[in-house]
Each structure stands twice: as C-alpha cells, then as structure tokens.
C-alpha cells in the first residue's frame, strides 16, 4: 500500500481524495472495496518516514483531507526502487495441501469432500469476478486486472481438479476408492 500511494503521487502533488479516485479508476470494480481512511493512514506514515511532505491549504481547517501531499526526494528514490523490483506474489497452496494430507492421515475428513467444498468457494469467487468483467462499462485497463484474477482462479480450479483425481484413487475416509 505505501509503495502504491507513493507511486500515485509521482505524477504531481495531490489531495488524498484525488489519489483515492485515481486508484479506484485503475482498479475498476475491485476498487469499490477500498477504504478512504486507509489512504490517510498511509499518507501519515509516509510523512513520518520522510517520504512525503504536505501543505495545508490557505484559509481552510487543518485536516488530512484538506492537505496537498507531495513526494520528497527520498520518496522519489523509493518509487524508482519499487518500479525496478521484480517481487511477485506467491499463491500459497501449501496450507490447503497439508490440510488434505492431515485430514486423510488422521481420518478426520474425506479429502475429496474438502476439495469439493474448496472448489465451490473458488468457483463462487470466479463467478463474481467474471460477472464484474461482463459489465461493458468496465474500462479496458481495469478489465486487465479482472482478467488476471480470472486466470489465477482458473489455475486454482485446475489444480483442485488434479487434487481430486489423485485423492479419489487413494484410501480415504468415508468414501470408496476409485468410485
């Protein structure tokens, strides 16, 4: 969040609400869940870290939403570093994988039933995102984000299908093998 807010400020000094509307526009339907307060909390932290300065507007009460924020030279450096970074979010499947292993080992639950329940949940998310993408009013750039989310969820579903196939053929609680 801090890096994103800094980068959004790189274009020109701005009010917090301008940053927020820039981000919302870029995120499309996924931006609707964004909380206004988060921006100001982040801006305050960035100010304390010396990455952002702010000026109060003339003749108005001194409130975070009245101030104009700008990058400091250190803030600009940090943005340049962030853009050059190649970190990438890792989808963490380990926990679910271990859940299946533990459930089967302790005969606590049928791994295939767990896979089914998980599939319903992933399918529900995919459906919500895909429905958002079906809206013709979604801006093409924001649509790219939705498409990326859809692709990831489809990969998750494919993996769940493989989990199901493997666990179906194994000895497990409650169901007959190889049905």
């Amino acid at each position: 969040m801090q890096d994103v807010v800094l980068a959004m400020l790189a274009k020109e000094p701005a009010h917090g609400y301008e940053l927020r509307s820039r981000m919302r526009a870029a995120l499309g339907p996924l931006g609707e869940a964004m909380n206004a307060g988060q921006i100001y909390v982040t801006l305050a932290r960035l100010g304390r870290a010396g990455l952002v300065t702010s000026e109060r507007a003339e003749g108005l009460p001194d409130r975070p939403d009245r101030r104009v924020y700008a990058l400091t030279p250190a803030g600009q450096q940090r943005v340049a570093g962030w853009l050059a970074e190649v970190s990438w979010p890792k989808p963490d499947l380990t926990e679910f994988h271990l859940k299946l292993v533990a459930a089967a080992a302790a005969r606590l639950a049928d791994p295939v039933a767990l896979v089914d329940a998980q599939r319903r949940e992933v399918l529900r998310r995919l459906r919500d995102i895909q429905r958002a993408a079906l809206d013709r009013s979604v801006d093409p750039v924001a649509g790219l984000l939705l498409e990326g989310v859809v692709l990831r969820l489809r990969a998750d579903l494919e993996w769940l299908e493989n989990c199901e196939r493997t666990w179906t053929g194994r000895d497990r609680t409650g169901r007959k093998a190889g049905a």
Partner: protein, 242 residues
C-alpha cells in the same frame, strides 16, 4: 426465474463395451431443469458430460433410464419424431460451431425455419432479428470463413434460437474462443438467461459459472456435486484491495 421442469432425466445411463470392459459414460443420473434455469455441468474431459448432453438432446439414445422434454418422454420416440423434436424444440450450440461453410450467416440462421416449412419471408425476417440480437446484423451476408471464431459462435447461437427452443443445449461453447470472444459469448448467454431462456451448458470452462444459476460437477459419469449459486453481484474479490 425458475418454474416447472423443462427437462427431466431419471436413472439415465449410457454404457459402452461389454462385461470385460464396461464403460459407464453416464451412470444412473437424475436431473430436473426448471424453466428459466441456466445450468452448467462441469467436469474433466472424459467425465461423460458431452454424452449426457447428447442424451438430453435426443442426439443419442440411452442404454437405460428416461428423458422427458416438457413432459414428453423422448428416449422412446421414433427416429422421425425425434428429428422433428430436435429441429423444433431444442437449440444446439457446439464447440466447433458446425455452420454450413457455403451459406452466409443469415442463411445459416434461417435454414432450420425453412426446413420446418416456414415461408422464406418470415424465416428471413426472424433470422435478421436474431443476428441483430447477437450483434451481427452487419455481417448477415458474410460467409463463415469471413467471420472470427467469436462471430461464428454468435451466428451458431442465433441459429440455435431460430425455432424458439424450449431449451438451449451447448457443448463446450467457448472451447475454441479467445478471452475477448469468450466474454462476448458469456454476455450473450447472460442476456438469454435474463430473457428467461432455459440453458444447459456442458463445459470445462469455469467462466461459464458466471452466467449459471446452478453448477453440477460431474465425474465418472455421475454427479459429484450440485450447487445453486446465489445470484450475487460483485463482492469478495480474489485478494481484492488491501
């Protein structure tokens, strides 16, 4: 938007081979599809979903069980009656479009109506209306070879609607399409669903779930999971905003 069942199956089975190598492509499936429902049947290739669709649409005869369409039992119908029923009451959409290459888009759409004995004038009018509905009025005179994959599938959907079918049966309709064309087909299905069309789609493509009221997971010829998805608008994203 659901009502009395349009499509029903009881103990529906399709077995291949003999005792030594018996394949249960469809294994005693029970199904009721209420009017106006959009149903997606999902599963890996080989799970029997295409065979199921063929049995429901009277394209194949089951080795066991029964199929009813709007209260009429179809698995025991004569070949002639079955052909007429498929032409008049069911709309089919296939992965490979199955358009006639030598006919234009509008000729493909009106063909079924002409075969059913409708006047050329009425058939053409309806075909043009349907092409307009799928956003291809300006491509009416094009041959399929001059259309993109997504456009061909939309022509095929218009054709499937020409007889005002009781149900549209689609087999992997987005299987040959890129993501933009898939979005167009999904939008079209969504509009059909909103207009009350009963839809059954068998697919590997989970994106179809976006336009389905109900998703059935099929494996080894049987239903493993049957879930009604709430018609919720956007909400919980994948990761969403942090």
């Amino acid at each position: 938007m659901t009502g009395s069942p349009v499509l029903q199956a009881r103990g529906l089975s399709m077995l291949y081979g003999d005792e030594r190598a018996l394949v249960r492509a469809v294994d005693e499936v029970d199904l009721e599809v209420p009017a106006g429902q959009s149903l997606a049947v999902m599963g890996p290739s080989g799970c029997g979903k295409s065979t199921l669709l063929h049995l429901l649409g009277g394209l194949q005869r089951p080795t066991g069980g029964q199929v009813w369409l709007a209260g009429h039992r179809i698995d025991t119908m004569s070949e002639r009656d079955l052909a007429r029923l498929r032409r008049d009451r069911i709309g089919f959409v296939f992965q490979a479009f199955h358009l006639m290459d030598e006919l234009t888009a509008v000729e493909n759409v009106e063909l079924a109506a002409l075969l059913a004995g409708q006047s050329p004038g009425r058939a053409r009018k309806r075909a043009m209306y349907l092409l307009d509905r799928v956003g291809l009025a300006d491509r009416a005179a094009h041959l399929p070879s001059a259309l993109s994959g997504g456009q061909r599938q939309r022509v095929a959907i218009a054709r499937a609607l020409s007889n005002e079918p009781l149900v549209v049966l689609a087999d992997e309709p987005t299987g040959n399409l890129d993501s933009a064309a898939t979005l167009e087909v999904l939008r079209l299905f969504e509009e059909l669903h909103a207009a009350g069309q009963t839809l059954v789609v068998v697919t590997h493509d989970a994106r179809i779930a976006a336009v389905a009221d109900r998703v059935i997971a099929m494996r080894d010829g049987a239903f493993a999971d049957d879930s009604q998805l709430a018609n919720a608008a956007t909400g919980t994203g994948y990761g969403g905003w942090r």
